[in-house]
């Protein structure tokens, strides 16, 4: 059972030294109980108290680092069942499968796509993280050669898949410094796989036929000193796999059931042979609790929607995404093109720029930093008012790019037009539509 804040407080030094970042031991204890702090932040806690507190202070779902170096990433650490309750912490890693039975050209193509497919959105680069190397031939030398090739071609995470510990060992040899994820320890091979994981400080997948078996296995692995564990519930049927993901998350968070308190791995690549269905299954696991999602292939048409969905679901509900302030050229605007201003809420930017593109009227779009608020909210909060807009328009130097002096403001900010005419006397302020959908019609009719 987890300890309460008061129980934890009794075990702390009660010095209120503040070195942990909060002013009092009581506040620190409350944070520990809520899973918002780590015990290691307290410099003076006794060894005895530490042992007692470790259990209570560990996050209910362990954070595991995958890979090494600049592209290492974290999975797990989730604290809620629903994103609106706080936020989802660590987006799932996406993996593409290559096998030692696959033709060289096919392997090369997949590795090339894994490296090349990336998308820029709201200033973030969206790209997949992992290559999964699977043994299908039983030939350790062949496997090792393939892993070497992957390690050379790919700088992200590596997942080694074989039921045979000797083959996993051969794979590790080819990419030891990359801390490959070993897949998988089972009830039959776990002692050997645990040995490999410990020797190389690699995380390991615990695979069972069902969750009871998984819980047995994770308990054994932790006893053997392996803590960086990822759960494969074993199911490859969609409905059971969905249920398993929900059960694992709920058991870890609500019951604080340690043996299931780990990130998970799912295999859409083994659940269907239809690439479109595979994308659907992967999409479900993005929303419902997969931590690593293994796909048979990466293709732009399915990878792009998955990556954007992932970004959406893992956006912090309390911190909307914002676009960088500046002058954006939509199409190839000229000196007689319209100048439009709006706020830097990323959705506002996407929609307005999309509607300008639809209108086929090239334009200069001024995106003003309103701390990620939409037009209506920013205006109501006093962040998108004449006295804020005017200095930004002047500083943007958009007047260097156009001959006219006409500024289109959003319909929802119409109340600012008077103030803006005073603040920007050289500009004519034009009030655009309230609904972005009407922008194409408005722009087609607009004249400099």
């Amino acid at each position: 059972m987890p300890l309460t804040g008061i129980q934890i407080f009794k075990l702390l030094p009660k010095t209120n030294c503040g070195k942990c970042g909060v002013p009092t031991c009581l506040a620190f204890a409350m944070n520990l109980a809520a899973g918002k702090a780590e015990l290691s932040k307290c410099p003076d806690v006794s060894e005895e108290a530490k042992a007692q507190l470790m259990e209570a202070s560990a996050p209910p779902i362990r954070v595991v680092t995958i890979g090494a170096g600049p592209r290492a990433f974290k999975i797990g650490g989730e604290t809620v069942m629903f994103r609106h309750e706080k936020r989802f912490e660590n987006p799932p890693g996406l993996a593409v499968l290559v096998t030692d039975g696959m033709a060289d050209a096919e392997v090369d193509d997949r590795l090339a796509r894994a490296g090349k497919l990336r998308y820029l959105r709201v200033g973030l680069t969206l790209r997949p993280e992992l290559v999964a190397v699977k043994e299908t031939t039983g030939d350790a030398a062949k496997f090792e050669a393939l892993v070497s090739k992957v390690a050379r071609a790919h700088d992200g995470g590596i997942l080694l898949i074989s039921a045979n510990p000797d083959i996993l060992a051969a794979g590790i040899k080819a990419c030891a410094d990359r801390k490959p994820l070993l897949c998988a320890a089972t009830k039959d091979n776990w002692e050997k796989v645990a040995g490999l994981a410990k020797a190389n400080a690699s995380p390991v997948v615990a695979k069972g036929a069902n969750l009871d078996e998984v819980a047995d296995l994770t308990a054994k692995l932790t006893q053997a000193g392996v803590n960086d564990i990822i759960i494969d519930s074993g199911s490859r049927a969609i409905r059971q796999a969905f249920q398993d993901q929900v059960t694992i998350r709920a058991s870890a968070l609500v019951k604080k059931f340690r043996p299931l308190g780990y990130p998970t791995i799912v295999f859409p690549c083994e659940m269907t042979t239809d690439p479109m269905m595979e994308a659907m299954i992967a999409s479900m696991f993005v929303a419902k609790y997969g931590s690593i999602i293994v796909l048979s292939d990466f293709q732009g048409e399915s990878l792009f929607p998955l990556l954007v969905e992932r970004m959406n679901i893992f956006t912090d509900p309390q911190r909307p995404l914002a676009t960088t302030q500046g002058v954006y050229e939509i199409g190839v605007p000229k000196e007689a093109s319209p100048v439009i201003i709006t706020t830097n809420f990323s959705l506002t930017y996407f929609l307005v720029s999309g509607y300008i593109e639809t209108s086929k009227v090239p334009a200069y779009l001024l995106i003003m930093d309103t701390e990620g608020l939409s037009v209506m909210t920013a205006w109501a909060a006093g962040k998108f008012t004449a006295d804020a807009i005017a200095p930004f328009v002047r500083k943007s130097e958009v007047w260097n790019k156009v001959k006219h002096r006409k500024l289109i403001i959003p319909g929802y900010a119409a109340a600012e037009s008077g103030g803006l005419e005073e603040e920007l006397p050289e500009w004519e302020i034009m009030v655009g539509p309230r609904d972005g959908a009407l922008l194409p019609g408005y722009l087609k009719a607009w004249k400099a």
Binding site: L253, F257, P259, M280, L347
Partner: protein, 316 residues
């Protein structure tokens, strides 16, 4: 080791009722658990998909989305019939695009006569969806309600600003109200209360919390629906215990990402498949959050979503 299972404590149930009339009527609602958590409760009616039909030939659809409807986009009756006969549509949604006062501004009587024609031509439940212009929707939807008396249509979007007049027509002529609010659980609840006060029966109300697709605010739509379901099922909030309808097709296909060709940007892959997946994956996310009825466009996207529903409800 027997694992410790944390079962959600439910104390509410989504209202269950029937849409449409006759042997193609569709039962919705009745859930006693989160979407597809059938290991915790019941989901007696699997989510249903309505196919959209526009009331005038779409001019700006992605090529891929037009292909399945070649030859019928100029005739809403033929279009609706094709959706049912060729693509097995459970329901039809007539999108009254041409009535938009900022667009074609088609006359209300003309629009209503067309809706009547479609309603008479199909045996599945019919949704009629206006343009969210209160004055125009009031005019158009009231006339449709009257012309299609007793057909148990779904009329929407009904918003706070026009709920009295459209709601009254729905009560008078026996139709279902689509209570539509802008991505806010409190506004959603408020409108349900207002409609209840007006006299709309609990068997005649379905909620639209406003949706958007992947890349365009999906996360907001997703979380509002999740919150509504959480309040309805675990917090005994009976003002939110209604089925949910999501008009997702228009939102996904208007995105420029459904149009970029592989030639323009090779990293984006095949445009047709990408459009289908953007629609199907957006729709599936809404189902996972709690939608009961989806309005969709592309037959292939619908097929994918149906297959996932069958898998998750164990009816494969």
């Amino acid at each position: 080791m027997a694992i410790e299972i944390a079962k959600t404590l439910y104390n509410g149930k989504i209202k269950a009722f029937t849409l449409g009339k006759g042997n193609k009527a569709v039962a919705v609602g009745g859930e006693t658990c989160y979407p597809f958590y059938i290991f915790e409760g019941q989901m007696p009616n699997a989510p249903r998909i309505a196919m959209e039909v526009w009331d005038y030939p779409p001019e700006d659809w992605a090529e891929e989305a037009l292909k399945p409807f070649v030859g019928v986009t100029g005739d809403p009756v033929a279009w609706a019939k094709k959706c049912i006969s060729d693509y097995g549509a459970d329901m039809i949604c007539l999108q009254l695009i041409s009535t938009d006062p900022n667009g074609l501004n088609r006359d209300a009587e003309e629009a209503a006569q067309l809706a009547k024609k479609v309603a008479d031509a199909v045996d599945v439940p019919l949704i009629v969806w206006g343009t969210a212009n209160h004055d125009k929707d009031t005019e158009v939807l009231r006339r449709i309600a009257e012309l299609c008396q007793g057909k148990n249509l779904l009329l929407g979007p009904v918003e706070e600003g026009d709920h009295k007049r459209i709601g009254a027509a729905a009560i008078g002529f026996q139709h279902v109200v689509i209570a539509s609010t802008p991505i806010d659980i409190n506004l959603a609840k408020q409108l349900n209360i207002l409609l209840g006060n007006l006299g709309v029966s609990e068997q005649n109300l379905i909620m639209d919390t406003t949706v958007s697709g992947i890349g365009y605010g999906l996360e907001y739509a997703y979380s509002v629906i999740e919150r509504v379901r959480m309040a309805a099922l675990t917090q005994q909030d009976d003002k939110l215990q209604f089925p949910i309808i999501s008009n997702i097709s228009k939102e996904t296909w208007k995105a420029k990402e459904t149009r970029i060709t592989a030639a323009e940007d090779p990293t984006m892959g095949d445009a047709g498949k990408r459009g289908i997946l953007l629609e199907a994956m957006s729709a599936q996310c809404l189902l996972l959050a709690g939608a009961d009825v989806l309005i969709m466009r592309h037959p292939e996207a619908i097929k994918l979503v149906r297959q996932m529903i069958a898998e998750l409800t164990g009816t494969v």
